[in-house]
């Protein structure tokens, strides 16, 4: 446990020294929300959108943007590089397992994701009166499950990709799919029903985030799917992870 603590501290320090990769995950969601809100000032409830403002519906997709950037890009990219450079190999000769480094990376990236969401909610609320999630506990649960499912998928790719180059080649389609299904490229109310339905069950589960945000009852099935993806992808990643 002490090893994990020390490794996490060092990884956090390294992260602070190399902000470029994760800064997008932290700031981009808020920046995009500010830009969209400034270009199209929300005009109040829209009956075509079930009586909600478009910006309130769009905000959860910005959570997807943050999680995709961190979970399918920053996190696995760094792990693949650590493996390629022999950092994991070096660590595997010490009493600290390279698994500690994996865990530390999960922790620091989770911290960035949580900070990104807090920032997004705060800025959205102050700038455009986007409400604080009404079902806070449900939102936290949907967020944690969504994040872990996406991070587990990122780990899985990092585990099976033979090289950093191969990893990037595998991340890109996954990243694009997550962003598209999460309504980042096109607002979800403009997507065909079938895509929206798939998006409900695709990590990180944008519909669950939206439901909890707006205070409508959570559908448990998508949450269960996120949990299942976390367990399965996480277990396969842990079993197949190559340290060198």
């Amino acid at each position: 446990m002490n090893h994990l603590y020390r490794v996490t501290l060092v990884e956090a320090r390294l992260l602070a020294r190399e902000p470029a990769p994760w800064l997008a995950g932290l700031l981009l969601p808020t920046i995009v929300l500010l830009a969209v809100g400034a270009l199209f000032p929300p005009q109040g409830p829209d009956s075509a959108l079930g009586g909600q403002r478009y910006l309130d519906l769009f905000a959860p997709s910005m959570v997807v943007l943050s999680l995709a950037a961190l979970g399918v890009n920053t996190l696995p990219g760094r792990l693949a590089r650590y493996r390629e450079r022999g950092v994991l190999r070096r660590l595997s000769t010490t009493p600290a397992s390279p698994a500690a480094l994996l865990a530390a990376q999960l922790i620091v990236n989770s911290a960035v994701a949580i900070a990104a969401v807090v920032l997004l909610i705060a800025v959205g609320n102050v700038a455009f009166a986007v409400p604080i999630p009404k079902d806070l506990i449900g939102f936290a649960a949907a967020f944690m499950l969504g994040m872990s499912s996406l991070f587990a998928l990122g780990l899985l790719v990092a585990a099976i990709a033979p090289t950093t180059g191969a990893a990037s080649a595998m991340f890109l389609p996954l990243f694009v799919a997550v962003m598209f299904l999460g309504g980042v490229y096109l607002p979800r109310w403009l997507l065909p029903d079938v895509i929206v339905r798939i998006g409900d069950f695709a990590p990180p589960g944008v519909q669950s985030l939206l439901s909890a945000w707006s205070g409508t009852p959570l559908d448990l099935l998508p949450l269960g799917v996120m949990a299942a993806i976390t367990v399965v992808a996480g277990a396969v990643a842990a079993r197949s992870f190559r340290w060198e």
Partner: protein, 315 residues
Amino acid sequence: MRRARPLTHASGMETVIDVQHVTKSYGDRRVVDDVSLQVGEGEIVAILGPNGAGKTTLVESIAGLRTPDSGQIRVLGLDPRADRSALRQLVGVQLQESALPDNLRVSEALDLYASFYSNPADWRALLAGLGLEAVQKSRFAKLSGGQKQRLSIALALVGNPRVVVLDELTTGLDPQARRDTWELIEATRERGVTILLVTHFMEEAERLADRIALIDGGRLVALDTPDGIVRRVDAGQHVRFRPSAPFDESILTGLAEVRSITRSGSTITVAGDGNLVLAVTAALARNGIVANDLRIHQADLDDAFIALTGRRLAS
């Protein structure tokens, strides 16, 4: 004194590394072929051999990073795979092709690694011993190849290990840094640490090792003291000279020290052993002959290596 050590380590010395009939193949290529060797406590054993001889695979198996296909390994009585976590506290390893994150500072790396061990060494003293004080605030990516190498050695020693495995210890170091590193290794051994080092530098093996394990094509070709290995090839000595006047060869062939005489033009080469030079020059002097351009060649590890493996050690 250490040169006098026998073929196997001295009896009464505790066996720290015990390798029995270890074999490892990658596909159908046999990389380590039935290797057995024992290393005693406080001993330095150098694994010497050309590139691709299987040295690294052998030490990585000893370090618990690879599982042999067959055979048995014990380090401090423990199985490197099954007792992995216990051994990690006791064995320091420096590997080829292992690195640190680019932006990690030297002092942070040592501080972090020291924290992994229950009884770590004073990393500041290690830093000084390896001449890394000036760069302790530098990031890993900014270090020169030699500095990275020395940091890697420091990380292998920071846990106060009882056994150290060093793979290509001084590759990439300039001659001065190499000698400094050798002194550090000797000082480490003075503290009773057992050291297994992989090298393809003859000079390094000769300088540091109590015994040398000569590996070629995955097989252990010889395991002996440096002198013992040289003696083993029985190359003896060669005395070469130009006689001041023709003479009857029988004045030399009759000597006990002389084994053979070959003539090439005006130059004569006498092969033999014992006090060959004195015997030859004395016999010539008795017959009024002067040996001009006298040269003596004594077999060394290089000759031994060529004799044992049929090839030269690339360096």
